[in-house]
Symmetry: C2
Subunit: 223 residues, 2 copies
């Protein structure tokens, strides 16, 4: 069995991908990025999920992401581009974030002589993000192959799944219990706020799949 590197954010999608990859690749290495996330709970969730899955996690610093999203652009010599509202994205949004994650992941994988990369990119729910679509992933795979002269493959098991289908996939690959330790809430709280768009999207997926969210069960002390 060949090895793989799985991008792991501590969220529902990457947790599901991690277990999907665990069934298919060995060794499996998880990779997270520390870019001064607003909520440290995200990295804590990544650590908890990886520990539970028995997958070694490497956290790489990627401060440039914050610099690109904020202060580094405030150059007194230059007018600040009116990025607010472009494509309806927030001004701190870093375009092509997944391209950056994949490039670093590929360099990391190369060092470990690993060619398979796994990422929870999904077209279905995130149509506003061009770096999540299948076409982008195919182009990036080609660029990585050529740029490092290495036979990389980018696996996106969630690409065409709805949130409900992702919940079902989580059950199939043994990730369901681990979702109790994943993090989704924009408010960065545990228990999750259950009000923000991220919490609501997550809730809808579990409701449609006809299953309780293990994270909420844990919050209620039932797990």
């Amino acid at each position: 069995m060949a090895g793989a590197v799985c991008l792991t954010s501590g969220g529902q999608d990457s947790t599901t991908c991690l277990y999907w990859a665990k069934q298919r690749f060995a060794p499996l290495l998880a990779l997270s990025f520390d870019y001064g996330q607003r909520h440290r709970i995200e990295l804590e969730a990544a650590r908890a999920v990886c520990e539970r899955a028995g997958v070694p996690l490497t956290v790489l610093r990627l401060d440039v992401l914050r610099e690109l999203g904020g202060t580094a652009l405030i150059d007194p010599q230059l007018p600040i581009a009116a990025s607010g509202g472009r494509g309806g994205l927030p001004t701190t949004f870093v375009p092509g974030r997944n391209l950056l994650f994949l490039t670093v992941a590929a360099a990391f994988a190369y060092h470990h002589e690993i060619a398979d990369l796994v990422i929870g990119a999904c077209e279905t729910d995130y149509s506003g993000y061009p770096d999540c679509r299948q076409q982008t992933m195919a182009a990036m795979e080609r660029a990585l192959q050529l740029g490092m002269d290495y036979p990389f493959r980018i696996h996106t098991p969630l690409m065409h799944l709805t949130k409900a289908q992702t919940v079902r996939l989580a059950c199939e690959v043994g990730a369901y219990e681990a979702l109790a330790y994943s993090h989704t809430c924009y408010a960065g709280t545990f228990p999750p706020c259950q009000q923000c768009p991220a919490c609501q999207l997550r809730a809808r997926g579990f409701a449609e799949a006809g299953l309780p969210d293990p994270l909420l069960l844990r919050a209620q002390g039932k797990r």
Copy 2:
């Protein structure tokens, strides 16, 4: 005239590209990366060249490059991949470094509503580096376009030039004098060591072009 972002390392090639771009794009923004370079003189050279060219320089931190090349890979849970010698590259070499630079440069350019990127990649002298070849640049351009849904173009004015031709191009675009402030030497010294492979390659280019190297003239106090 449309704007551009020029990747600037303080070296001979990117200095030539900067002046090439200055003739073609406005506004022109220079971008360098601080990744704990062994020699700080590289960033100082980038600053000196940009100041002379009158092009505003932004320096972004990219510590992940050092982490990928070194200690971050020393994970006691994992065997270290024997990257020494792979493709004859040093173990601290970060594969696909130009892909990383271009991805960050594209995100930076996007924020400034700039679609043109300029990089001194060259197939002629660096056949060992797959992230310098034309094919890689074309694939990366496509990935950036799709990943950020933006019409990026990657310009590589030096792609098929020899070092002597690059010296001649420097003259044509007005970069010749500025090369006195560029840095090439692996030893990281000024005056340059004139012994290392980088110094020798540079010297050969000027010799073939039939011109003195302004950097050496400056070192001799003649400039």
